[in-house]
């Protein structure tokens, strides 16, 4: 006899959503760490940093 109070387990949609979320999280991290990341663009093409911009009016 099966125990009616036994936990039925995780629904299928949870497993599918979990796998998709995990895969997308891995893709996101890999893309950002491998070259396309923002950390390589510290200056982002700015011609003058803010500190050197103060005397431009003289």
């Amino acid at each position: 006899m099966a125990d009616s109070s036994a936990y039925p387990g995780r629904p299928r949609w949870v497993k599918i959503l979990g796998i998709i979320t995990l895969a997308l999280a891995v893709v996101f991290v890999v893309v950002h760490l491998a070259g396309g990341g923002f950390h390589h663009h510290g200056h982002l093409g700015a011609e003058t940093p803010p500190a050197t911009n103060q005397n431009t009016g003289n």
Partner: protein, 168 residues
């Protein structure tokens, strides 16, 4: 009676902040598209400056408010925080979106600074594309969270199952 009013207030706040967050991300996406495809230099620069303002003044506060009110609401209602899978899934998606948003505030700020003070060099093209892709992904995640909140797919966690049987 008083508890019911508090629940409704929490629900109203959570829906307002969440919908506002989604709308603000949609605007961010529109600005990212305008910044990437625009032909007029002034308009492109303005788009990136506006994206930075929107991030700090609207998106980030709404994101944190949505997360906080969601937590409060789950604790005030019989749904709980760890009893139903849809609540956990929504919490995980919101937490991930918040982390990703926090990680993007610096590059958005740097891009806005570059747009305001210098030229947008070709090397930042990948960052501009990245922001567009991430905004589209964020909008998809928020839409998914909305679908979960409305449909509330079945599925009790082990903890929720135990609690339900304790009450029965």
């Amino acid at each position: 009676m008083a508890r019911s009013s508090v629940r409704k207030l929490a629900l109203t706040a959570h829906v307002t902040f969440s919908v506002g967050w989604m709308g603000a991300v949609a605007c961010f996406l529109a600005l990212a598209i305008a910044g990437l495809t625009g032909r007029e230099d002034q308009a492109v620069r303005a788009a990136y400056v506006a994206m930075n303002v929107a991030t700090w003044a609207v998106i980030l506060p709404l994101c944190l408010a949505s997360l906080l009110t969601g937590l409060i609401e789950s604790l005030l209602t019989p749904w709980g925080l760890f009893r139903h899978y849809w609540v956990i899934a929504k919490l995980v998606l919101t937490a991930l979106a918040t982390i990703v948003l926090l990680a993007h505030t610096q590059p958005i700020g740097l891009l806005a600074h570059a747009a305001a003070h210098g030229t947008l060099a070709a090397e930042v093209q990948s960052v501009r594309v990245q922001l567009l892709v991430d905004a589209a992904a964020a909008l998809s995640v928020l839409l998914l969270a909305t679908v979960l909140a409305i449909y509330k797919p079945r599925g009790l966690t082990r903890y929720g199952w135990r609690k339900q049987h304790q009450r029965a």
